[in-house]
Amino acid sequence: MLKVDAISKSFRGLKAVSSASFEVPQGAIVALIGPNGAGKTTCFNMIAGVFAPDSGRIIFQENEIQDKRPDQVCVAGIGRTFQIVKPFAGLSVLDNVMVGALLREKSASSARALALGVLKKLKLEEKKDYPASALTLPDRKRLEVARALATRPKLLLLDEVMAGLRPTETDLMVEVFRDLNRTDGLTILLIEHVMRAVMALAQKVVVLHHGEIIASGAPAEVVRHPAVLECYLGEETEV
Amino acid sequence: MPLDLVVNVTIAGVLTGMVYGLMALGLSVIFGVVRVVNFAHGEMMTIAMYAAVSLFAAFQLDPFLAAIPVAAGFFVLGYLLQAGLINPFITRPEHSQFMLMVAVAIIMVNGMLIAFGPDARNVQIAYQLESWEIGKILLDKPRVYAALMAAATSAALFLFFKLSLTGKAIRACADNHLGALVVGLNVKHLYALTFGLGAACVAVAGCMMILFLDVTPSLGPSYTLLAFIIVIVGGLGSLTGALLGGVLIGLSEALAGLFIQPSAKSMFCYGLLILVLLFRPQGLLGKKS
């Protein structure tokens, strides 16, 4: 569904991403991991259209999207969340999600119906009239996901959505995503540091380090890959 | 167009521009550090002009001498204004801060109208009409004195920021608000200090302006806009830029008044502002944010 083909990005001479290539098959859940500063969010931002790669292509469902604006990328079917959540603080929870729903629904009433359905899936429907600013962090994260889901994406980009959650909350989120993947066929690409979630969710893991892909494959293999161990834990030294 | 006329107008423009520069310097300091859009800047200068007029009327005090107590007074008032009124607004959305200063400006302009009436006021001093003649070139005495005063005040401010510990602390706040807090700087106090300094600059500029301009309450808003034009053209966050911008605007105003119609000279300034905002918002010397 998504093919990232040798994308690179430099910021004022610092190479953030260097010729990265990976694929996200339809219906899969793929995790993008790597140490801090590896270039994961930069990749996301390129896919989401925040900025264009210096070189390379991004192909989504047979179309090249590397030069598209963020709103065009969303219309094409890619939804995203932000690492630092960006709720519409002055609006209610329901209104937040309705903004997302209005992309595909023509009227406010059908958008409301869609929004309520999404809130129910994310277990937020009881708080639908709360102002978004009144939510706790876990709820804000769920709101962020709900809003993106309301745009009926075919591919969902999740940027460290588990950060700051307690283990029980993490498990809840994992369940929600598993469910969406299983029943609705939602393809998911997620950046994660929380290995608990990565191991539970991902069918494929891609590892980024200093802007380069150093490993890719099933979770169990990747986690044992020497290059991966080295980048997280450092080189083995003889004692 | 006789050459000596052009030269004289140019010189007058540059000299006036230095006073504009001092006024804009005050705004640049305030805007650059505290990040508050001081929409009452021109009004503050107008009040300074009235202060100079009043001191002259009461004590025959030369505006150059009056600049000292007026600047001191403005420093205190500026400090209090920032500490008392504006500080809580640092964290509020931009348009809130903007409107706060608009409200202050409205009160100031009309306060002056009530206190001094709508008629123009000025000072009459012996040397106001004198000038030095170097060949065909005329140098107006008040303009030269004013420009020198403006230069001296600017230099003092520069040295303060460059050399003194407080000055460096203020620059630190401007660079990184959170960082300044983290290292234990009393940011609120430093902001108030900065506003006070900016106000003092404006005060000196006002005392200079009264030498070649009559003051009316409505002067305020046009000088606020002028100060912003200068700061934006010269570059936000650059003190040198404010001075350079001031001279540039003073010069272009003078020349525009000469070659185009005098009443159209401010049109030129607004046109320049529009162009700068669109194509080079960081101004001539500012840092790209």
Binding site: R69, P70, D71, C74, V75, G79, F82, K86, P87, F88, A89, G90, D95, V99, G100, L102, L103, A108, D129, R147, A148, T151 | V37, L85, E94, H95, S96, F98, M99, L100, V102, A103, V104, A105, I106, I107, V109, N110, G111, L113, I114, P217, P221, L225, F228, I229, I232, Q261, S263, A264, S266, M267, Y270, G271, L273, I274, L277, L278, F279, P281
Partner: protein, 321 residues
């Protein structure tokens, strides 16, 4: 339900207002409604799309001059003139919006840009002879006791009812807009533009829409101004104090709300006129006191009621959601 009842009561009061008051109060009422309408038009750009325009006098002035000029020079009545006014103002608004949004100008810089355009136009009109230059443009004041609707001339009541209709039309329009896709998208853009883009919103297009609607509505306000006051001076109509006047009512009443501008206009005019009357009663005729009062009210509202008077009032009356 409560909201609809209150609205009907308000409408009824406003309908009979001219019948029960003296001519001076009628003119005050007309002014309040004029400020309310113009404030509502400005509100669309600021309250809905979050763009602070401090140069709205530009649209009032251009709209007024456009309709007035063709009336004076060609005898074309205001019902046709208003379309020209709207067309010109929309073009200008679109140009400013385009320049600003394409070049990423927002916040304070956008506000300064709007001021610069208004000031530029003010001085420009001072030198425009076709519209009378700085000497002003004058419309023939026809008989005040006959209603000449085609040329929009008539007794003061006619003007009052016209602006009343405009205010209610604006209310209906804004209510519709707020509840529609546009309303949601504008609020999203205002709250967090980046997040809005990630949800598929073409923020440039929607911001332009707000600017276009706002300038079109303000153009109509200008046409009303021209045919009500019958004289136009660039120094007055384009002046920055006009722009500030326009925004006082919505800010005091409540930016982004439906009733904010109207409430603000009422509060501001009623209170300030009362103060002036009170002071005059004591023999204190002080020019400028009214504006000082405006400034103080604005200051207090910004400090203590940053969202305006309407939100807390609505809550007290049990009208908020």
């Amino acid at each position: 339900m409560k909201q609809k009842v209150l609205l009907l009561v308000l409408f009824a009061v406003l309908l009979i207002f001219p019948k029960v008051v003296n001519p001076y109060l009628l003119s005050v009422g007309t002014l309040i409604l004029y400020l309310a309408y113009t404030g509502q038009a400005w509100n669309v750009m600021m309250g809905f799309a979050g763009q602070l325009s401090l140069g709205h006098s530009l649209y009032v002035g251009v709209g007024a001059y456009a309709a007035a000029a063709i009336f004076v020079h060609y005898g074309i009545g205001p019902w046709a003139g208003v379309w020209l006014a709207i067309a010109v103002c929309v073009a200008i608004g679109a140009a400013i919006g385009f320049l600003a949004f394409r070049f990423g100008i927002s916040g304070v810089y956008f506000a300064l840009l709007t001021i610069a355009f208004a000031e530029f136009t003010r001085i420009g009109f001072d030198h425009l002879n076709w519209t009378g230059g700085s000497g002003g443009l004058f419309l023939k004041v026809a008989q005040r006791d006959q209603i000449d609707l085609a040329n929009f001339r008539g007794p003061p009541e006619m003007y009052y009812y016209s602006i009343l209709i405009l205010v209610f039309a604006a209310l209906v329009l804004c209510n519709y807009l707020l509840k529609s896709k546009a309303g949601y998208y504008w609020q999203a853009i205002r709250e967090n533009e980046e997040a809005a883009q990630a949800l598929g919103i073409n923020t440039f297009r929607w911001k332009m829409l707000a600017v276009v609607i706002s300038s079109a509505m303000t153009a109509v306000s200008g046409v009303f101004f021209a045919f009500y006051y019958n004289n136009l001076f660039p120094e007055q109509i384009f002046h920055i104090s006009r722009s500030i006047e326009i925004i006082l009512a919505p800010i005091i009443g409540g930016v982004g709300t439906l009733f904010g501008p109207i409430l603000g206009a009422v509060v501001l005019t009623v209170l300030s006129d009362s103060i002036t009357e009170l002071l005059a009663y004591f023999g204190w005729e002080i020019p400028g006191i009214k504006q000082v009062f405006y400034g103080i009210v604005l200051l207090l509202v910004i400090m203590f009621l940053p969202h305006g008077i309407w939100p807390p009032l609505a809550r007290k009356l049990g009208l908020a959601k």
